[in-house]
Structures are given as structure tokens and as C-alpha cells.
């Protein structure tokens, strides 16, 4: 038979939700949900599904994912993360709620070096969640702040998501990197304000009072690690590497730091790190395949065309359209990973954004920030899953804390929507020729 759009959509989305509730892994749920549609629809067959999935891996840009993860994993096991935490301690540990601020600050530092949020949640979480619990912080708060702060990893440059976005939609990745800096820092400040509020209410302690000597020591220790963004951004700006290739520079430099400078990574450990990177990367990448199939089927049944038509009919204007775009990214982020959402939804909404006179760079920032929030929103929020498993708790039981911490972050997203200059000012100032 030939399925109608409504029936196909119901089978796909309904099937997916049912499978997820039954605790089928999300990657497989996306694939399994396509089976009834493919079985019923005469015009489709399993071959097409397999090919869609397979071809989605056939992309050079996705190589940035394992390389940035490799860089971050090398930092975590090379004790570079510890040095960043030391630096964050002297910078922010003296405030009430000290370790909470340290958690946020180290995520900002980590974000400036790595393009991945999950590695931040895993690496910093392993050290800071137990430390916070020991100092009397609420376990749920420790988990929630670790997860929420890690989302800065993909907003503050460098960023895997921006590389994929720039490649898929032909936008300068350099300009996207610059556009993400200010919103990222604003989110960091909003998080610190939230930590301060929690500290006042629950009477959380300060972590340490830095001395001149400890401050100097911390800066010295972290200095070499903080050079990574310089290398990555220099590599792109100087034209040595493409954005995807820049990920390999980050990995190479982290390897050099770990093996030669700090000598904390042994050749044997490199093997383990390569393995861990491969396994973790392929878990998310595998999901990109099934998500692509799922998205392709929605497109096959004309769903994106309906969305665009609907949005054009509503005559929302610039601000309204931007709000709807943010909402759609936030909503998709609840269920699917960020990269497949960029591929499925980003390309569909780009013409909508352009029609509403939203700059492609601002559109990218709205999308990326919204998707970054998706990293901590259940049911499918990888960073929250990771930090909850480190803290030994169920995702549902920390939901309230996550929502409280997310609210000020959503306010920053709203500011980014209302004032495009927040994103545009830095790239306009430093890269004027990417605006014609």
C-alpha cells in the first residue's frame, strides 16, 4: 500500500516513542521504528534504509567527532584536566559555593580547548562530583551543575557542532567559532550566578582562598594546555588546515602534552585511549546513521515541506520565527543527538530563517545553543546521562535541579534571539570579509 503522510508520521514517531519507553537503545529505536513503514510501503524496501544509513557515515566532516573526542580523552587521562581544575580553583574557588563555581569555570576552560561536551561531563565530572559530595553539596545539585555546565563545550569554540554546521550549510566555521564566544561566556556567567544563588540558600562553603604562590603555580601548570585553542584557531586562520583537520591538530597537541611534556600518558595507555575514543565516538556516530534514515523517511512523506509551509503561512516575522526555530531545535534535542538534528532539521529551517531575515550566523547560534541544551534534557541527554551515572543517580531524580539551572540559560538564549549583535559583533569585527 501507499501510506499517507499522517499514518507514516504516526507509525514513525509513535513507534519510536514506544520503543524508547520500552528502554530500547535510542540508536536502535530510531532504526526499528522505520521497519513497519518500510514493510507496509510498496515504494520502499530495506535496501534503501541500509543505504541511507551507510551513506550518512560516508562524510569527511564527521571525522571531526572522533578527533575532538580523542583530544579530550587525552586531556582527561593526561592529567591536563587536573591542571585546568587547579586553575579554576584559584580563579573562582574563593566565592561562596566554591566548588560549584570551579565546576562551571573548568567547563569554560575545557570548552575553549575541546569541541566536545560529553568528554567534559565525563572528565571533570569524575573528579568534581565526588569532591562536591564530600564537601556537603547536594548530590543532585552536583550532578546537575556538571551536566549543565558541560554544554558550553559546543558553544565556546572550538566546537564539533559548528564544524558540522558550517560544512553542511556553507557558512564560515571561523565566523561561527567567533560568534559562539560571547554567548558561551554569557552562559558561563549565568551559571555562576545560579551557583551563587544555590550557595546562599543552602549555605555551601568556599573551596579555597588562593595565595599568590598557588595562583602562579596554577597558571603555570595550565598554560601549555591553554595554548590548544591558539593552535586550533591559528591552524584555521593561517590556512594550514580545514576545520575538520583542525581536530587532528588538537589531538596531536594533547598527545604531545601527555606523552612528552607532562609524561602522564604511557604508550600502553594510548592504546586504551584510542579504544575508548573509538567506542564512545562510534556509539554516537552509529546513532547518526539510524537518525538519518528516520529523518529521510519523514522527508519522504513530506513532513518538512508541511512544516515550512505552515511556518510561512503563519507570518511570524523575524522574532517569532526565531522563537519557533529555537523551540523546534529544543524539542528535537529532547530525543535525538545534536548532529543528526543539524542534518535533518537545520537544512530544512535554513530557508525559513533566511526568509525571515535572520542572519545565517545568528540562525546557527540559535540552533547550536538550543541543541546544546538538548544535551542535558531527558529522555535523550547524553551529558546528563553521563554525569548522573558518575553520581550514581537516576536521571529523573535530578530533573528538578536541572530545570532550575536551565532557566537562566534559556534566558541567555532569548537574549541571543532578541539581540543578534551578541553573536555578530565579534565575527563582524574580526572577520569583516565573511559578511558581504
Amino acid at each position: 500500500m501507499i501510506l499517507t503522510t499522517g499514518l507514516a508520521c504516526a507509525l514513525l514517531v509513535g513507534g519510536f516513542l514506544l520503543l524508547v519507553i520500552a528502554r530500547v537503545p535510542v540508536a536502535f529505536a530510531l532504526g526499528l521504528a522505520t521497519i513497519p513503514v518500510v514493510a507496509l510501503e510498496v515504494r520502499l524496501n530495506p535496501f534503501i534504509i541500509i543505504d541511507r544509513m551507510f551513506q550518512s557515515y560516508n562524510s569527511f566532516i564527521l571525522l571531526a567527532v572522533p578527533f575532538f573526542l580523542l583530544a579530550a580523552n587525552l586531556m582527561n587521562s593526561g592529567k591536563i584536566t587536573d591542571k585546568l581544575i587547579d586553575l579554576a580553583r584559584v580563579l573562582t574557588g574563593w566565592m561562596p559555593g566554591g566548588l560549584g563555581h570551579v565546576n562551571v569555570a573548568v567547563s569554560m576552560l575545557f570548552a575553549g580547548i575541546s569541541g566536545s561536551s560529553t568528554a567534559d561531563a565525563a572528565g571533570c565530572g569524575k573528579i568534581l562530583i565526588p569532591a562536591m559530595i564530600k564537601e556537603g553539596y547536594d548530590r543532585r545539585f552536583a550532578i546537575a551543575i556538571t551536566a549543565c555546565s558541560s554544554v558550553m563545550g559546543v558553544i565556546i569554540p572550538p566546537s564539533i557542532l559548528m564544524i558540522v554546521w558550517g560544512g553542511v550549510m556553507q557558512i564560515s566555521v571561523g565566523a561561527l567559532f567567533l560568534a559562539g564566544a560571547i554567548p558561551g561566556i554569557m552562559i558561563g556567567c549565568a551559571l555562576m550566578a545560579t551557583v551563587y544563588g544555590f550557595a546562599k540558600v543552602y549555605n555551601y562553603p568556599i573551596a579555597m582562598k588562593p595565595t599568590l604562590a598557588s595562583t602562579f603555580q596554577a597558571f603555570k601548570g595550565a598554560a601549555l594546555a591553554m595554548l590548544t585553542p591558539v593552535f586550533v584557531i591559528f591552524g584555521i586562520v593561517a590556512g594550514i588546515v580545514t576545520p575538520t583537520e583542525s581536530a587532528i591538530i588538537a589531538a596531536g597537541y594533547s598527545l604531545f602534552l601527555g606523552m612528552v611534556v607532562y609524561r602522564t600518558v604511557t604508550p600502553r595507555e594510548v592504546g586504551t585511549i584510542l579504544y575508548d575514543t573509538g567506542r564512545f565516538a562510534s556509539i554516537s556516530l552509529f546513532a547518526i546513521g539510524t537518525a538519518s534514515v528516520f529523518g529521510w523517511l519523514l522527508a519522504y512523506y513530506n513532513v518538512p515541506r508541511l512544516i515550512i509551509g505552515f511556518m510561512t503561512d503563519m507570518q511570524l516575522g523575524g522574532f517569532g520565527t526565531a522563537l519557533v526555530i529555537a523551540f523546534l531545535f529544543l524539542f528535537f534535542g529532547l530525543f535525538i543527538d545534536a548532529i543528526p538534528t543539524i542534518i535533518i532539521l537545520g537544512t530544512v529551517l535554513l530557508p525559513v530563517a533566511i526568509q525571515a531575515d535572520i542572519s545565517p550566523i545568528v540562525f546557527a547560534m540559535i540552533g547550536i545553543i538550543s541543541l546544546a541544551f538538548g544535551l542535558v534534557t531527558p529522555p535523550y541527554g547524553l551529558c546528563l546521562l553521563i554525569s548522573a551515572s558518575i553520581g550514581g543517580m537516576n536521571v529523573i531524580s535530578v530533573l528538578k535541579q536541572v530545570i532550575i539551572i536551565l532557566l537562566p540559560m534559556l534566558f541567555i538564549l532569548l537574549l541571543v534571539i532578541i539581540f543578534p549583535e551578541i553573536s555578530l559583533w565579534l565575527p563582524k569585527t574580526l572577520m569583516p570579509n565573511s559578511f558581504n
Binding site: R43, N45, F47, R52, Q55, I61, G167, S172, V241, A299
Partner: protein, 302 residues
């Protein structure tokens, strides 16, 4: 019967218009009932996927493809868009209106089960660069991105450029960063993908006039009644001619638009004839390697 087509572009693109025309003409020539469902904007994937679907006879029945996408099945197909194959638009039009390419059509049908029903195309590919390149000296050592087929790299290597491997969706960023100095492409792509923002110099090497076959899935084609098949072949030829006329005209207009808007600076290549001499051995060698020496000679003398 409903026949489904796919286009990576919107309704204004010449490929889309050509396929719409193809549908109209088929309806006109066929007495029975046939409907065309053309999906736009890459809804059903990219050209690389279309090849797979056509080969398997699934998802789509017809589309327009760049020959390089079919090279995985039939290694001689890249001959169709080999640089410096056609002298000029007239030569190109004469070749495509004849049935001189039928050996390639047969190979494609045998190895990929894809039927060519007509030839569209007509974009002229030129060099696009971030600095001026107007003669052999300036071309020498110029780092440029080429399409992923050995013959493409060999030809540009033969004329002194330094071809480089960069994924198409990284080209924009690679030029902006200076990883490469440019690429080669037609006016429509320069405009759509905004390559002029990073590489405003266009040098009229006119090395390729594009050939874009209108293709039908062999599996779907054989299922159709004979009179519909005949209507499709007839409509394909005419839609192809329509598409060629439209695209070659629009190509020139687009280039002029961009030049008038100050987006690109167009210049000629000094002593272009020299390039033809330089690439001839490479072309001959490639033709020999795929057993198409006679075909190449036939095209050249047409």
C-alpha cells in the same frame, strides 16, 4: 502510473525546469495516464544517493545526474565530463544531439542498469580563485580543489596547477582559510554556494561544458508499457535540448549578473590553445585505459 523524480535544487533551477518539461512532454506524447511526482530541494537525498536508487529501482524513477556520480559502476563515464573535451558550445551541442555517445550509454545500462534518455547540461566550468590567474605562469603551482576523479586531477596537473583533495562541503571554508587558492566550477554553483565571497576571480578557461544526462532507472523503465517507453525516450531527447539551451543561456547570464554586481572579476586566460596541447596526452592515455580511443577521436572530429 506515477513516476517519481528527484532534484537537489528548488523550482528555479534549470535541472528542475528540465525535469518538469520532461514530464509535460511525456504526457503530451503518451496517450495513457501518467503522473509525475517531482521532489525538490534534496528532499530524497543527494545525487550520489539517486544513483543507488536508480540502480536498485527504488524510491525514484528518474533524475538528472552529473556523470562523475556514476563512475563507481562504469569507469568510462567520466569521459563525458573530461576537461577540454569540447571545443565550444557548438561542438558540445552537436555531439549531444547525435548518438555518438551510445557506447557509454550501453556500458552504463549494462553495468549500472541506468538508462540515459537525454542530455541536459550547459554550464561552463571556469577557474575560480582568491587571486588573479590569467596565464600559465600564474596558474603554475596554484593550489586548487578538483572533483574526485583521477582524470580531473591528471588534467589540472598537466596544465601546471596543484590539484588537492578536499571534500566539497569543506571547500568554502578551505578557500577562506587559504588551505587552497580556489576550485573550478560553473556560474550557478558559484552563485548558489557563495564561492564568490571567498574566491572572487573567475578565469574563463571554459575547460568543461557540462553534460548532465537525464537518467531513468532500468528496472522501472522495463516495467512500463512500450508506448510509454517510446514517449519517454522522445520526451527525454527534447527535454534535454530544452535544458541545454536554457542552461547555457542562464549560465552566461548568471556570470554577468555576478560580474555586474561586483561579486566576481572575470578575465580571459591568455593563450588558452596552449592548454589544449598540454592536456592531449593525458586525455589520450585516459581514453586508452578505458578502451575508448576511437570514441574520443570520434568526438574530437565531430
Amino acid at each position: 502510473t506515477t513516476l517519481r523524480g528527484a532534484s537537489m535544487f528548488d523550482g528555479n533551477h534549470t535541472f528542475t525546469k528540465t525535469m518538469v518539461k520532461f514530464g509535460e512532454l511525456t504526457n503530451q506524447y503518451y496517450k495513457g495516464d501518467v503522473e509525475f511526482d517531482l521532489r525538490l530541494n534534496g528532499e530524497l537525498g543527494v545525487e550520489k544517493d539517486y544513483v543507488t536508487y536508480l540502480n536498485q529501482g527504488i524510491a525514484i524513477d528518474y533524475t538528472i545526474l552529473a556523470p562523475s556520480n556514476m563512475a563507481r559502476f562504469a569507469p568510462s563515464i567520466p569521459l563525458m565530463d573530461m576537461p577540454f573535451l569540447f571545443r565550444d558550445l557548438d561542438h558540445w551541442n552537436t555531439v549531444l544531439s547525435s548518438n555518438i555517445l551510445s557506447p557509454l550509454e550501453k556500458e552504463l545500462s549494462d553495468k549500472a542498469d541506468i538508462v540515459i534518455v537525454g542530455y541536459a547540461g550547459g554550464g561552463t566550468r571556469n577557474l575560480i580563485s582568491n587571486k588573479k590567474i590569467s596565464n600559465l605562469q600564474e596558474l603554475s603551482g596554484h593550489k586548487m580543489r578538483v572533483m574526485g576523479a583521477p582524470i580531473q586531477a591528471q588534467v589540472f596537473d598537466a596544465i601546471g596547477a596543484a590539484p588537492s583533495a578536499i571534500a566539497y562541503n569543506e571547500v568554502y571554508n578551505a578557500i577562506q582559510a587559504g588551505v587552497v587558492g580556489g576550485l573550478e566550477n560553473e556560474a550557478a554553483s558559484i552563485q548558489n554556494l557563495k564561492f564568490y565571497e571567498v574566491a572572487p576571480y573567475v578565469t574563463k578557461t571554459a575547460h568543461t561544458i557540462t553534460v548532465r544526462p537525464i537518467v531513468f532507472s532500468g528496472k522501472s523503465f522495463r516495467k512500463l508499457p512500450a508506448d510509454l517507453q517510446a514517449a519517454i525516450m522522445k520526451a527525454g531527447k527534447e527535454a534535454g535540448a530544452f535544458g541545454r539551451e536554457l542552461e547555457s543561456r542562464e549560465d552566461a547570464i548568471k556570470l554577468k549578473q555576478m560580474a555586474d554586481a561586483g561579486q566576481v572579476k572575470v578575465s580571459d586566460f591568455a593563450n588558452r590553445e596552449q592548454l589544449l596541447v598540454m592536456v592531449k596526452p593525458v586525455q589520450d592515455k585516459f581514453a586508452a585505459s578505458i578502451g575508448a580511443t576511437e570514441l574520443l577521436e570520434a568526438i574530437r572530429t565531430k
